[in-house]
């Protein structure tokens, strides 16, 4: 009998708790407020938009003065979707921003920024080699990205997203990185003279 009572209790308690959870979800509903905690893909997207402001591409990168700045995203990630929301109706130096999600590095020919998701970690070297000397700001999110020759790498530090810069790689890509961006980087790999 004790066991039967217990089973009944379990079922009852389970029902009550589920109901409470649902009720509380519905009641509070979508009273959205914003604070200073965000999913990492939103923060990374906002960084990528900022990078577009603080990097100058070499003359000839854009065929037309009205060409958009192409922000490309390679690999499985939510950053591309967040980036579209971030750059909608935004201009940098009078240029619009276009987000392109790529499936393959060979589609990156006219990208100004190439974000490489962690999902591409195994192919990292090939991706970076393929994008060398093509005037593209490569941005990664793994520890090895800079060592492999990428330009900017995000890292997570105490729950915040920071970034490292490889000026040597930026030089190869003929990019001019503003001193402000450099000063905010956690670590900087110096360019060769």
């Amino acid at each position: 009998v004790a066991i039967l009572t217990a089973m009944a209790l379990r079922i009852f308690a389970g029902g009550v708790l589920t109901a409470m959870l649902l009720a509380s979800l519905l009641a509070t509903g979508l009273s959205a407020q914003t604070g200073d905690n965000r999913p990492d893909y939103q923060i990374k997207a906002a960084f990528l938009f900022n990078f577009a402001k603080f990097v100058e591409w070499p003359p000839g990168s854009f065929k037309n003065p009205t060409d958009p700045i192409n922000l490309c995203v390679l690999g499985v990630t939510l950053v591309g979707r967040a980036l579209e929301d971030t750059v909608r109706n935004k201009l940098v130096d009078g240029r619009a921003l276009a987000v392109r999600e790529l499936t393959n590095v060979h589609q990156a020919a006219d990208c100004q920024i190439l974000f490489v998701s962690v999902s591409e970690q195994k192919r990292l070297r090939a991706i970076i080699d393929a994008s060398k000397f093509s005037d593209v700001l490569t941005v990664g999110e793994t520890d090895t990205f800079i060592a492999e020759g990428g330009v900017v790498a995000f890292n997570l530090d105490n729950g915040r997203i920071h970034f490292d810069i490889n000026l040597q790689a930026a030089q190869l890509e003929r990019l001019r990185v503003s001193s402000k961006l450099v000063s905010l980087a956690t670590s900087v790999r110096k360019a060769e003279k």
Binding site: R10, L17, M20, T28, P39, A46, F47, V76, I161
Partner: protein
């Protein structure tokens, strides 16, 4: 129990960033945020609590995945040594006694242990079966150790501490991982894990592991036949169902066989003989959690977990069937108050198949435990009030629970946290917590040992439980201080004074002479009964310091002290039912050095001092561990080391539950890890 943010709610920011950063909230639209603002936005996917633990009104220590990796330790119970104030003592190759702030025993009954919010404390023995907690060390993200009562948040039995083991999310364990290790102890362990992605926002990982350890040698030089073997498999799925909803599903199955020595009854001899036999446990658990964020200030979590296992040894076999439901809601009220409340229901059913019938009065012949169902329903609430914003916080919390055995329990806490500067914080706390009697203490009934009196007369000790036992209570007074001096040195110290009432006791009654009858010789039956006839107090503290000597060299040290005095209430003299004062060293000390010789080679060492336990006859022990790690590439890691370099064999603990007396040997080991 669901993750409880409670203590950890506001001040955290200060712990890890310069003060100005904390006030810098990002604008509603991240697209308009400046770079400086972006650098200060915290990432939601990282647990809030982790950041908050740095400054809480409780004595908290966190063992990180990096600490675990660099310690070279590969078994969960051993890893707990890294937290100052956790008393870890190994009594065989597969059994440990682990406690916080004393009262250590095979079933240390005042320490609550949770794995991803699921309590693994068993009401049956009032303790944790450490041999079945075989979480692969590579799957542990961090271990939060709360020294002192945590009952207002975590529930009953969190009397002297809480250990909260948090496993890595599937998102951060993508790809393959193979770990193999072998040692002289001897230990052999293999672990394979693979993590992948389903769609764009769900991740999974699956893993299998096995380990085998031969029995440790007895103090008399014998090698028992059964060591410790365990096999397990687990999975975890993390799904961000929407930007506001996270779902976690995880589960595991395990099989563990650990050798012990059991007292058994030889024919025609009242005195027990020792039988080497394994205790076998097979089981599994499942956990589901749904977390919904209404806003940055408000979230709700629902969690369900279920565990089922069977355990059998020569004395008793049992089945455990435990269901837990949790709900928690966290929200703010005005600018100054943070509220958390929740509900918890736990139903633990312990079943015992019919024991083999043996005629009394022989050992364990009368061990009859009825099937027991313990149900606990609890409500808790916490209010964290900023008396002076950013400077002074008052935290009040209470848990009111009803359990089917002892009825209503009220477990409150009041805490004050003062953070005059970002580098200094002080806290004070007063809490009450209770420990409910174990099922054994309530319904045990058996002859447990024989004692010679005057040949041919002998005595048999008949131990019985008391169904009217009451809960043990503690009122704990605590204080603590955290100090950061420059970027390199930090210090964390806490002190406590605990007053215990109704501590579990055993009382010996008047022996009864039973004349020879049938084939039985005459004997004295010595009745002993569990009770609550002890009280006392304990005091002590913990301190830990870290010093970052350079970018490549870090030192960490810890010290803990616990002194316990217990007495019998006036009237009939009663003894402690646990080795209250004698079960843990009064002083423990440890220091670790983590040195990066190059970017690929690490040399790590640790020295631990454990004071003597004179009541057990365990001498003091100095332990030294050294580890050399080499990471030639991201994919490979090799390490080799020695544990207990100074001592080939030492006695670490004497089990109260089993009869073995074994020495823990030195371990020389090698380990390889391959990621793909």
């Amino acid at each position: 129990m669901a993750p409880r943010n409670v203590f950890f709610l506001s001040i955290l920011c200060l712990a890890i960033t310069p003060p100005a950063a904390c006030q810098l909230a990002a604008p509603a639209d991240l697209a308009d945020a400046t770079l400086e603002e972006l650098l200060n936005v915290t990432v939601t996917s990282v647990s809030k609590r982790e950041q908050r633990l740095g400054k809480t009104a409780a004595s908290v220590y966190v063992i990180t995945a990096e600490d675990i990796r660099r310690s070279g330790l590969s078994l969960l119970p051993e890893i707990l040594r890294l937290a100052p104030g956790v008393q870890v003592a190994r009594s065989s190759s597969g059994s440990w006694a682990i406690s916080i702030r004393g009262f250590n025993d095979d079933s240390a009954n005042k320490l609550l242990v949770l794995v991803d919010g699921r309590s693994v404390y068993k009401e049956l023995t009032a303790g944790v079966d450490w041999d079945t907690q075989t979480i692969p060390t590579g799957d542990i993200e961090r271990i939060e150790v709360i020294r002192g009562p945590g009952a207002a948040m975590w529930g009953t039995n969190a009397v002297n501490g809480v250990i909260n083991i948090i496993t890595t999310s599937a998102e951060t364990s993508q790809g393959g991982l193979v770990t193999a290790e072998g040692g002289s102890a001897p230990e052999l362990g293999v672990r394979v894990r693979y993590g992948g992605q389903i769609g764009s926002n769900a991740y999974y990982r699956v893993g299998v592991q096995g380990s085998d350890a031969a029995a440790f040698t007895s103090t008399d030089g014998q090698k028992p036949p059964h060591g410790w073997t365990n096999l397990g498999a687990n999975f975890r799925l993390d799904w961000d169902a929407s930007p506001r909803d996270s779902i976690l599903l995880s589960g595991n199955v395990f099989h563990s066989e650990v050798g012990h020595q059991y007292p058994t009854q030889p024919a025609n001899n009242p005195f027990p003989a020792l039988l080497d036999a394994p205790a076998t446990s097979t089981g599994g658990s499942f956990l589901g959690r749904w977390e919904h964020r209404f806003s940055e200030q408000s979230d709700a979590t629902g969690q369900i977990s279920w565990e089922r296992s069977t355990t059998a040894d020569p004395l008793v076999s049992r089945g455990d069937d435990i269901l837990t439901l949790d709900f928690q809601n966290h929200t703010t009220a005005g600018e100054r108050q943070e509220l958390t409340w929740g509900l918890n229901f736990r139903d633990a059913l312990y079943t015992f198949p019919d024991p083999t019938v043996r005629p009394p009065p022989f050992l364990y012949s009368a061990l009859r435990i009825p099937n027991v169902n313990d149900a606990v329903f609890a409500v808790f609430g916490e209010d964290q009030i900023a008396l002076v914003q950013e400077k002074l916080e008052f935290i009040a919390a209470v848990q009111v629970s009803h359990n089917s055995f002892s009825g209503l329990e009220v477990q409150p806490t009041a805490r004050l946290l003062w953070t005059p500067t970002t580098n200094l914080s002080s806290w004070l706390a007063v809490s009450r917590a209770v420990r409910t009697p174990s099922i054994y203490e309530r319904s045990f009934d058996s002859i447990v040992t024989a004692t010679p009196i005057e040949p041919p007369l002998f005595g048999l000790v008949h131990l019985t439980g008391d169904p009217n036992l009451r809960t043990e209570t503690v009122v704990a007074y605590e204080a603590g201080q955290r100090l950061q001096i420059g970027p390199r040195f930090s210090l964390d110290a806490s002190a406590f004074y605990n007053v215990y009432q109704h501590l579990a006791s055993v009382t010996t009654g008047t022996p009864v002479f039973l004349p020879a009858s049938g084939q039985l010789p005459p004997y004295l039956e010595i009745p002993t009964v569990f009770g609550n006839r002890r009280y006392g107090e304990s005091y002590g503290g913990e301190a830990s310091a870290t010093f970052k000597a350079s970018r490549r060299w870090k030192l960490a040290s810890g010290y803990s002290m616990v002194l316990i005095h217990t007495r019998s209430y006036p009237g009939i003299f009663s003894d402690d039912s646990l080795r209250t004062a004698g079960g843990s060293p009064e002083h423990e000390f440890q220091v670790h050095s983590y040195l990066d010789l190059t970017s690929k080679i690490q040399l790590d060492s640790g020295v631990y001092f454990y004071g003597a336990m004179p009541a057990l006859g365990v001498p003091r022990h100095l332990r030294a561990d050294v580890r050399l790690g080499w990471r030639p590439s991201e994919k490979w890691e090799f390490s080799a080391g020695v544990q207990d370099a100074l001592d080939p064999n030492h006695l670490e603990y004497i089990s109260s539950r089993f009869s073995q007396l074994v020495e823990v040997p030195r371990n020389v080991y090698g380990k390889a890890t391959w990621r793909f």
